[in-house]
Amino acid sequence: MTLFGDPAIWLPLAFAALMGLSILIYVILDGYDLGVGLLFPFATPDERDRMVAAIGPFWDANETWLVLAVGLLLVAFPLAHGVILTALYLPVAIMLIGLILRGVSFEFRVKAPAPHKWAWNTAFFAGSLMTATSQGWMLGLYVMGLDYTGVNVAFAAAAAVFLSLGYALIGAAWLILKTDGDLQRKAVAWARRSIWGVAAGIAGISAATPLMSQRIWDKWFSVPEFFLLAPLPILSVVLLAVLWFALRRLPTEDDEFAWLPFTATVGLMVLAFVGLAYSFYPYVVPERMTIYEAAAAPGSLFIMLIGVLFVVPVIIGYSALAYWVFRGKATELRYD
């Protein structure tokens, strides 16, 4: 096979695919628990406990996909890792502090004395907000080429708002799936309010990327690519319509279709991600450095690939086990 002929070609490609997959899984999985954190101020104290119970057994593993994604960037594309992370120095630091606050609040809010609980609830919300907005900011700035110009900063700010709304949507959709009663009804209302932001965000980024770069414009708006790619925007519109319609009707009497908003939101995220990945390939630093220029030595990539290919199916297997054990509506989390 010619594809596997030159390891300097297919190894970087394989790692780019793995890194992309990790980012996508991260955005979906940690997206829903960050989203639940963003919705915290709108819930009553009892509801907050149930919301945490809905994500408690999963968040640790969800966040680990970020470590894998940045780890793959670090180890497979060491040159790009330095360029990207030094350009995003401050937002990365804000995100990390956000992740710290969010992560430890899970533990502290249930273990600290009751009078201190409000402080950890606040830290949980603040941490989720810092993480979501800084990730949106980084996405916006990355899409615009990592330069701090007026337009780019405005775009990054808008992306920060839209990604937070996207996380709020998938968080609400997760709650629709994992809770019932008043909280579920509330979650449906939250989802309805955030869906517009998500639509605007996807449209905004879809419009901005081809306008930013002639290369990306040509990749989308030439024949036959234009027709081959048409399913992406069409499916996105269909999914948005399904979501909008479902949120009018939910919750149903017998809890049918509670899975639909979450599934549709995941679908939207996958489509948006595929579009972005198609636009930016083969660049890892937009318009500056390709994955082939940034890649580590083929020998080192190969030894990592063996490990990754052996372990990723195992990870997916026991993640499925964890989700199976904690399936159904969320119940109170107990150690004993």
């Binding site: 408690g56 057994p57 999963f58 640790d60 593993a61 966040e63 680990t64 470590v67 894998l68 940045v70 780890g71 793959l72 960037l73 670090l74 180890v75 497979a76 060491p78 040159l79 890792h81 330095g82 360029v83 990207i84 992370l85 030094t86 120095y89 401050l90 990365v92 630091a93 990390l96 502090i97 992740l99 710290i100 992560g103 430890v104 899970f106 533990e107 502290f108 273990k111 600290a112 580590a296 030595a297 020998g299 080192s300 030894i303 990592m304 490990g307 990754v308 372990v311 990723v312 990870i315 026991y318 993640s319 086990l321 964890a322 054990v325 904690f326 989390l333 107990r334 150690y335 004993d336």
Partner: protein, 464 residues
């Protein structure tokens, strides 16, 4: 000047991050195995007190684990934000080792943690036991890969340099580099001792608060025996590690001993103020021939001195002396305090005297010693890491060559933010530990005294 500021600030920031981070893995690595032990005892005996001990300590584990995860994520980003030169130069070696740490270990821990923490009533007993073991194996693998990389940075081998970039020639040589076995075992024992003293420290506090439960007696016995057995092993292992360092990084050992001239009959310096400008020790208090005896096993053994590591033009090529000298002494001092306390306690508890046998001053001594493992582990790491300077990878890459081009003001602002967050979290962590301790002590005090009851029959199918 500007580059120097960024360098110094980045080093302080990395030191702050990694110091904060290591506190929590130091607890979780060994505490995970203690939890496996509790679960195993419960499975074997059906004595529900072991599960009570498990549920109390699993809370401490969960809290420590969360702090370890979030501070660990910070570390993986720091390589890129502050030290891009590290991955550019030795990324082909550091990359796969870090990747193996993440993929084999991190996920094993994080995924099974949910079942371990919240799954006792949801899954069969064998699966809960399995999840506990999986988390313990995960923390161990995590430690293994990280210590492989760290040891390689001290004693690099198995690679060749091409155009300033390290390329692998032998993975076996990289993984089993000369200092790895010593450093790994030294760190695992340090983790065991840290946990042993946290268990006994919190246990002693509960006892002093009036808790006389069987669960507490069991954990106290486990903690005291763990401490008493591990500390001699650690002192022996530390000595072996020192000899290994003497072979591969003599400048570090010279700084640890505060020895300036290469000579025979070197004394063991107990106290001194090393003066790097005058290149001598002030107010020295020493045991004649001590260092020669320890390092060379003969009174006239020749021990390398710091003055051998100054270039012709006066450039200093050895680590800063005072921090290495002092952190080493703090570590060793705590080690001997641990020995004295744990053996005294084991003696006092002999022959069924149990916790009642411990005199009150001894119980009170255990309470502050709960944090002794942390202090000793940190001083040990400062000894070895500051002792590696001015190298980042010994003989391959200097620290100042790896630092990123970030404005000092930026590094300063993030450094201050991290320090504030870490200080708050550390206070909160210790506060919650004390709160949980008090709650547990009060809960057990108000409960009726139990004999051999087996607790509520909620897990009728113990594993095996």
């Amino acid at each position: 000047m500007e580059a120097l500021d960024t360098l110094l600030l980045s080093r302080i920031q990395f030191a702050a991050n990694i110091s904060f981070h290591i506190l929590f893995p130091t607890i979780t690595i060994a505490l995970a195995w203690v939890l496996v032990f509790f679960k195993w005892r419960y499975n074997r005996t059906g004595d529900y007190d072991w599960m009570r001990a498990y549920f109390f300590w699993v809370k401490v584990f969960a809290l420590s684990f969360a702090l370890g995860v979030v501070s660990g994520i910070t570390m993986s980003f720091q390589f890129g934000t502050n030290w891009p030169g590290f991955m550019e130069s030795v990324g082909n070696i550091a990359g796969p080792l870090l990747a193996y740490e993440v993929i084999t270990a991190f996920f094993l821990e994080a995924v099974f943690l949910g079942i371990m923490l919240f799954g006792f009533r949801k899954v069969p007993g064998w699966l809960h036991t399995f999840a506990t073991v999986a988390v313990a194996v995960g923390t161990l693998l995590s430690a293994f890969w990280i210590l492989v990389l760290n040891s390689w940075m001290h004693t690099p081998q198995g690679f060749e340099m091409r155009d300033g970039v390290a390329h692998v020639t032998s993975w076996m040589e990289i993984i089993f580099n000369p200092s790895m076995p010593y450093r790994l075992i030294h760190m695992l024992l340090a983790s065991g001792l840290t946990v042993a003293f946290i268990i006994t420290g919190i246990g002693a506090l509960r006892w002093l608060m009036g808790d006389r439960s069987h669960e507490l007696r069991k954990t106290m016995r486990v903690g005291v025996w763990m401490a008493a057995l591990l500390i001699p092993a650690q002192i022996f292992m530390g000595d072996m590690h020192g000899l290994n360092t003497l072979e591969h990084q003599p400048a570090k050992v010279a700084a640890m001993e505060g020895n300036w001239e290469t000579r025979s009959n070197v004394p063991l310096v107990l106290f001194a103020l090393p003066d790097e400008a005058a290149r001598e020790n002030r107010f020295e208090l020493a045991i004649p021939n001590g260092a020669s005896l320890i390092l060379k096993h003969s009174a006239d053994g020749v021990v390398p001195g710091l003055n051998d590591f100054v270039a012709e033009d006066g450039t200093v090529e050895h680590p800063p002396v005072a921090p290495v000298f002092w952190s080493f002494r703090i570590m060793v001092g705590i080690g001997f305090a641990m020995l004295a306390l744990s053996w005294a306690a084991a003696w006092a508890m002999r022959g069924g005297r149990d916790v009642e046998g411990l005199p009150r001053p001894l119980l009170w001594a255990f309470v502050p010693m709960a944090l002794s493992g942390w202090v000793a582990t940190l001083s040990g790491w400062y000894t070895t890491e500051i002792g590696r300077q001015p190298w980042l990878v010994n003989g391959v890459l200097t620290t100042d060559a790896a630092v990123g081009d970030v404005a000092p003001g930026m590094v300063m602002s993030t450094l201050i933010s991290y320090l504030v967050v870490y200080a708050v979290l550390l206070v909160a962590y210790i506060g919650v530990l004390i709160y949980l301790t008090r709650k547990q002590a009060q809960g057990n005090e108000s409960e009726p005294r139990r004999g051999d009851d087996t607790g509520p029959a909620i897990n009728p199918v113990p594993a095996e």
